[in-house]
């Protein structure tokens, strides 16, 4: 009980200070009561878990929005996806006597954390978005991540909802021994790759032969087939086709359902497809899901616009595949632009910045309409070198390690060049500071003396 009290006290204090719930209350509570996650988790009636390398935050948030249309589900906040963060999420809905008030949870769980928490939560549905390379210095190597997810799957009692377009996720589903529903994109939307992108799933994990691809969606996701054994892409139980913000989903022989997506870009269509498939597996009908998605507000840093002068669009980048999907989203918005890239190398960002060289920053140069690239953050200089070798003209690269200085410089240059949009890309620990600076710059962009001056000030200090 002491753990619950301490954790709740910490939560209450953080709220008083105007801070969001982080991992801290959970960490404090777990230190005093190591069995707390199991005690609280055991009170859940049902639990849906989303894991995978990329897209788990957006997928879990979309899924939470859909599920909440049916009744209250508790949900952990972005990034708080290890044991401490999960405990914080449960504590927020626990009474001072230790009773959980909301009995259903949709939780985003870090891949390496999964084996440690799978026995503590009644996981009914487990969504696996994909398995890509991510933060090597934290997990050692990719194979370790695979093994961890597989161990957890085998010990679970869950129905799996798996991205069938990802050979590594498919492998886990085949070896996991649990019932599976696959989702995947329409083969008509697959593209031939224009460059030798990094492909973690390029080899058959059964026999070691190189997988043949008829087409790619993004990263190693695509229409794969092993030439020397029977490993192949499954026909998706939930087949998605994405066009102009609409996702058409065919589930078995049922009539197709169309969903308007509240998020931009093909990689987000994948996340939405995963969320819709999982919500269907949980038992929701399409109308309820549609109503839930309509109330969704996109999380921080996913092509998020700010009304600065001129406009800024903020994006989180964290690994090569995730970064490539952001770069793709940016270059698909045509017209001259300024790009500002802030790279930090703190623990939450990944201390090894090698990944910058696996990401396809060349596309920014090839697009031909990036007028200026401002690099920032603790690794501003590394990023500047990266852009130089990507082929950017040296006089179009400006290195300003200070984040606010870099954003102000980008906006001033964009204004002088005729109000070009600024696309800001930041790693995790630079994201919240960048958002705070951009909110301030939004306030500054409003004409002085305009009505609502007080509102301006409030936003400015938020």
């Amino acid at each position: 009980m002491l753990g619950i009290w301490l954790g709740k006290l910490a939560l209450w204090l953080l709220r008083l200070l105007g801070r969001g719930a982080t991992s801290f209350p959970g960490r404090l509570a777990l230190r005093v009561s190591p069995g707390l996650l199991g005690r609280l988790g055991g009170q859940l009636r049902r639990c849906v878990v989303v894991t995978g390398t990329n897209g788990k935050t957006t997928t879990a948030s979309l899924l939470a929005a859909a599920l909440n249309a049916e009744g209250p589900w508790l949900h952990n906040t972005e990034g708080a996806n290890m044991a401490q963060g999960l405990t914080t999420a449960l504590l927020a809905h626990t009474s001072w006597t230790g009773r959980l008030r909301v009995r259903q949870a949709v939780l985003e769980v870090d891949e390496a954390t999964l084996p440690g928490v799978i026995d503590k939560l009644p996981v009914r549905v487990l969504v696996l978005t994909n398995v890509f390379r991510d933060q090597l210095d934290r997990y050692g190597e990719l194979d370790t991540t695979m093994q961890k997810i597989l161990d957890a799957v085998r010990r679970s009692k869950a129905t799996l909802v798996v991205n069938g377009d990802d050979p590594l996720a498919r492998h886990i589903a085949l070896e996991g021994g649990r019932p599976v529903s696959y989702y995947g994109l329409n083969p008509a939307q697959a593209a031939q790759p224009h460059r030798d992108q990094t492909r973690d799933g390029a080899f058959c994990l059964r026999c070691g032969a190189r997988l043949a691809y008829d087409g790619f969606f993004y990263g190693g996701l695509g229409l794969y087939d092993c030439p020397s054994c029977d490993f192949c892409r499954p026909h998706p139980d939930f087949l998605g086709s994405y066009e102009d913000g609409l996702l058409r989903v065919v589930h078995g022989n049922r009539p197709p359902q169309v969903f308007r997506l509240p998020v931009r870009g093909l990689y987000n269509a994948y996340n939405a497809l995963a969320a819709i498939a999982a919500a269907r597996v949980v038992g929701l009908d399409s109308d309820t899901i549609r109503a839930g998605l309509a109330r969704f507000r996109p999380p921080l840093g996913r092509m998020q616009p700010y009304a600065t002068s001129p406009e800024t669009v903020l994006n989180l980048v964290k690994n090569p595949t995730g970064c490539d999907s952001v770069l793709q989203a940016i270059t698909s918005e045509h017209g001259a632009k300024v790009v500002c890239i802030a790279i930090n190398d703190l623990a939450a960002d990944g201390r090894d910045v090698s990944w910058l060289w696996d990401a396809d920053f060349e596309t920014l140069v090839e697009a031909g309409d990036v007028r200026l690239c401002v690099t920032s953050g603790l690794r501003a200089e590394d990023m500047a070198v990266r852009m130089k070798y990507a082929g950017m003209a040296p006089d179009a690269i400006v290195c300003i390690p200070d984040l606010e200085g870099a954003l102000r410089f980008s906006l001033a240059a964009a204004r002088d060049a005729g109000d070009l949009p600024v696309y800001a890309l930041t790693t995790y620990t630079a994201l919240y500071p960048a958002a705070a600076i951009l909110r301030r710059l939004e306030a500054e962009a409003r004409p002085a003396g305009a009505t609502g001056g007080r509102a301006v000030q409030e936003r400015g200090t938020a």
Binding site: D137, T198, D345, L356, K388
Partner: protein, 244 residues
């Protein structure tokens, strides 16, 4: 020069853990900026490289499983490799590729994988991974900075690449990092290795040109950004390296 400088990139489809693509890109650009024709040939998995027409070979690192597949292929041409190395073929081996040059390397579970035996070097498994930023001082190339992430502890009886200023190096104990033997350079430093260490990149290009029998006078390039990146790592991440 009439013939392009030919760089063989060994098994990029298997050994792509530490952004070796960056090393290739740096070599390619620094040749292009000087008007040196260059051709990078990726050698796909299972295939034996054509050493007779190579002027520089790059061998990167991968996961244990992928590393073993590479070892299997290359062991079949050990004698050719040895002859080429003795004849002065420039070879850059990073992380797993570095371990592969020796007699054996040990996996986490204690199994020993036979190496290529090109160098008098062996790698045992440590209980912890040696992870973090690293700076070394090399007599030939000055300060070299980057990132290391390896469980292997390597020991050898050749000239090291440099002395560790901050970080772990070959084994975290003797204060040395990497190896130099003829025109072979082996190292745990990635990040990738070459972008922030242009002197080392140019050394590889120079020895490759010499090996190709071409004039090897390299015009200097403006390296302000590269130097700034090296300085930034030293100042923000490895202040200890500057006082050594």
């Amino acid at each position: 020069m009439a013939r392009p400088l030919r760089i063989l990139h060994l098994y990029p489809d298997l050994l792509n853990l530490y952004a070796d693509r960056g090393n290739i890109l740096v070599l390619r650009r620094r040749c292009e900026w000087r008007g040196i024709p260059v051709e990078v040939q990726p050698v796909p998995r299972g295939e034996r490289p054509d050493l007779a027409h190579a002027h520089l070979v790059l061998l990167g690192g991968g996961s244990d499983r992928e590393q073993m597949l590479v070892a299997e292929t290359l062991r079949g041409m050990r004698e050719d490799l040895r002859a080429a190395v003795e004849a002065g073929l420039p070879l850059l081996a990073v992380c797993g590729g570095y371990q592969l040059l020796g007699h054996f390397y040990e996996l986490a579970d204690g199994r020993r994988v036979e190496g290529l035996g090109l160098l008098d070097l062996e790698t045992t498994a440590g209980r912890t991974r040696l992870i973090g930023n690293i700076a070394i001082e090399s007599p030939a190339f000055g300060t070299i900075v980057g990132f290391e992430n390896h469980a292997g502890r390597t020991r050898h009886r050749h000239e090291p690449l440099g002395r560790v200023l901050a970080g772990h190096g070959n084994n975290g104990e003797d204060g040395w990092e990497g190896v130099r033997y003829r025109n072979v350079i082996g190292t745990y430093i990635h990040g990738p290795l070459l972008p922030k260490n242009p002197a080392l990149a140019d050394h590889l290009i120079r020895t490759a040109l010499e090996y190709a029998g071409e004039p090897a006078d390299l015009a200097p390039l403006p390296d302000d950004l590269e130097q700034a990146a090296q300085q930034a790592v030293l100042e923000r991440r490895l202040p200890a390296a500057r006082t050594r």
